[in-house]
Symmetry: C2
Subunit: 453 residues, 2 copies
Amino acid sequence: MRIVIIGGVAAGAKAAAKAKRVDPALEIIVFQDESEVAYSACGLPYAIGGTIKDPNRLVIRKPEAFAKDGIQVLTGRRAVALDTAGREVTVRHLDDRREAVVAYDRLIIATGALPIVPQVEGVGLDGVLTLRKFGDLARFASVLDRLRPKRAVIVGAGYIGMELAEAFHGLNIETAIVEKFPRILPKFDPEMAGLVHERLAERKVELVLGDGLSGLEGANGRVGAVVTESGRTLPADLVVLAIGVRPNVELAQAAGLALGKTGAIAVDARMETNVPGIFAAGDCAETVDRVSGQPVWLPLGDIANLQGRVAGENAAGGDARFPGVFGTAIFKTFDLNVAMTGLSEQSARAHGFDPISVLMKRGDRARYYPGGLELNLKLIADRRDGRLLGAQVIGEGKADKMIDIAATALLGNLTCRDLENADLAYSPPFSPVLSPMIMAAGALSSRLAGVAD
Amino acid sequence: MRIVIIGGVAAGAKAAAKAKRVDPALEIIVFQDESEVAYSACGLPYAIGGTIKDPNRLVIRKPEAFAKDGIQVLTGRRAVALDTAGREVTVRHLDDRREAVVAYDRLIIATGALPIVPQVEGVGLDGVLTLRKFGDLARFASVLDRLRPKRAVIVGAGYIGMELAEAFHGLNIETAIVEKFPRILPKFDPEMAGLVHERLAERKVELVLGDGLSGLEGANGRVGAVVTESGRTLPADLVVLAIGVRPNVELAQAAGLALGKTGAIAVDARMETNVPGIFAAGDCAETVDRVSGQPVWLPLGDIANLQGRVAGENAAGGDARFPGVFGTAIFKTFDLNVAMTGLSEQSARAHGFDPISVLMKRGDRARYYPGGLELNLKLIADRRDGRLLGAQVIGEGKADKMIDIAATALLGNLTCRDLENADLAYSPPFSPVLSPMIMAAGALSSRLAGVAD
């Protein structure tokens, strides 16, 4: 019995390990088109900024370590064709381009996502980069070393763009961010995104919003400026294309596997595709939003790990379920911790809920205890039944704790009335006597009950 | 319509504020037998250790601030008798011992808890202290200043005892803890409590366990040693009696109010006693443990605030509910964060559950990201249905975050299968890719499913 896994970064690596533990007798082969497997893509911005001194620390597990567990990891090989009827994958060796056909009993597709590279003039210039794969780090290192950039333009105000803006600031590279959408962080409600906008502006990050990338100018093969759709020219000796990613589904699509509404591979709760015995997990797979019930594509490392675990267990003969996501996400930019879970007020309304919300600014410790930091917490519930719909937390304080409480509350399908009497941990070094989350839930409950908070 | 509130520290102060907001037309009088109201008792150990430089910062709100909101706060007055039929409280002015009879329409009893002071020889000696009330800080300051203690004995290995041990360490006072129970932290399972025991031992805190206080010796009115029941003599020029507290229910009991099994005042979910119109909240009131369903007495500041809010709203004519507690608690000792929620494995068994548990040691950030700290996490579920029963977290890392996730999971009545697919916030500065809580829940789920984790 052989399981073949295509892709070995997060979902693929996790699936391989889990399948082998569930059934040690299985033959497991992982094909990976990069030189490394099992690395942390989310850590890449921190390796560029120097927070992580040794980029090799991002590699969690080497192929040899997998081999010791009886898992064959074959790097530098890309799956180029899939025959679902014959249960065979054609794999191309990227060094010599020779192809081999490999049979499988069960297949796990974990091909991840690819950075969107706009086909504008100049994308091939030296100094124009994307950041997605481990190998991109060497390209960044080379550009930083050779070109000694003084001014960067990041195209796209997503998480990675903002993490990189902080990294560049630390490297004394002046930075502008170009974003086609009229504001940053469209998944956050405007007043929350505004807090991040302000912080970026304070730290002298130039924000060019509502304006897309039109082209790249350069001289002697080296990038010199970004030209925007509105016609602005932004000088830049380093350009990062961080517009976003798209699910890497070409192989699956060509093989006739069904894609979902979002364009990612459709799977059921067992992470199985429409072809029995073929699973998909991680950034190439679609999932479901547990608040709205709608299909969603959420290419994040932790979700990839969770899905990989489920796909691995099921490919090995188990019966695990992945119930979907709440869209929980967090990132850090310029000492601001920015987190969300569930729906924003805007998206709640768009999904037919009747949201009410509260926004509070609170410290994350007892006021008199030193070291406390501020949090802005927005909590959203449905007016009709008080059911929690989402939360957004932004501040220098413990946003991760707040958002994990909210994400767990969503998991429990709790109402604001439930949460206002949560029994959370209090002691002055850790929290105000009533957690900001309890205060926010209490304010929503009082509003629903028509009493003063 | 007049609401009288007896006691104004946590529950009483909160109840007064909430009642006034709910109905600004109410007359509200708070009687308090100390000079301050609305202070943080939980902050007291940190004022002694010097973490909080100005003890007055522990006072959240002065009587004058309450007065501005139309709430009368009368300090230095103790309620000494209660006539529930006539709806009158007799209040004694502690300065001149004159008494006055005050009528009420609704009454909130928030008399808190009192430190247990064993009636052994020498408890009146100079240098023998308890720490419970704001006024105790001045006594501590005086003793530290006059007696310049070099060696302290803390009687009782509870949270306050251990917080004080850390404070004394910072003041270069050698410390021993005497505890009648054979180990510290009986509410924690032994292997978890052992981690704290080790840390205290490392920091040269002498632990005298399974041995009670027999008496105190002194000379010239000043304490010199603690004598234990086994006959040991421990030299001490400072002794803190931190054996525990008992609910302050004398007034209520004398007035015929029903007490619960735990000895605290019995209340319903509206925080109302057996006498309609009389509420009790905070450390004097009993509540219910939401995991076991049993009555429980949990004298903690955050619970007092939650209960005060409910009692205040209801006394003002509202209809709020306090659903009970999960026994969540946290404290810090010698850089170790020590937290629990729900039942321990031991207590789960005692309550008729069939607990299984997992204990994991994990970092609280991605391994490669600097600044991560360690956590020991024990997660407990019921073998029969996977329902989560409790968690304990001990370590230098973010124990507060982990325990709040667990406490919210208990609130949602989640199983380990639910929690293993929680969508928690991941980014390298904040968490490992899969939260320790997810890893622990996954391990329990796998065990229940009979598959390898």
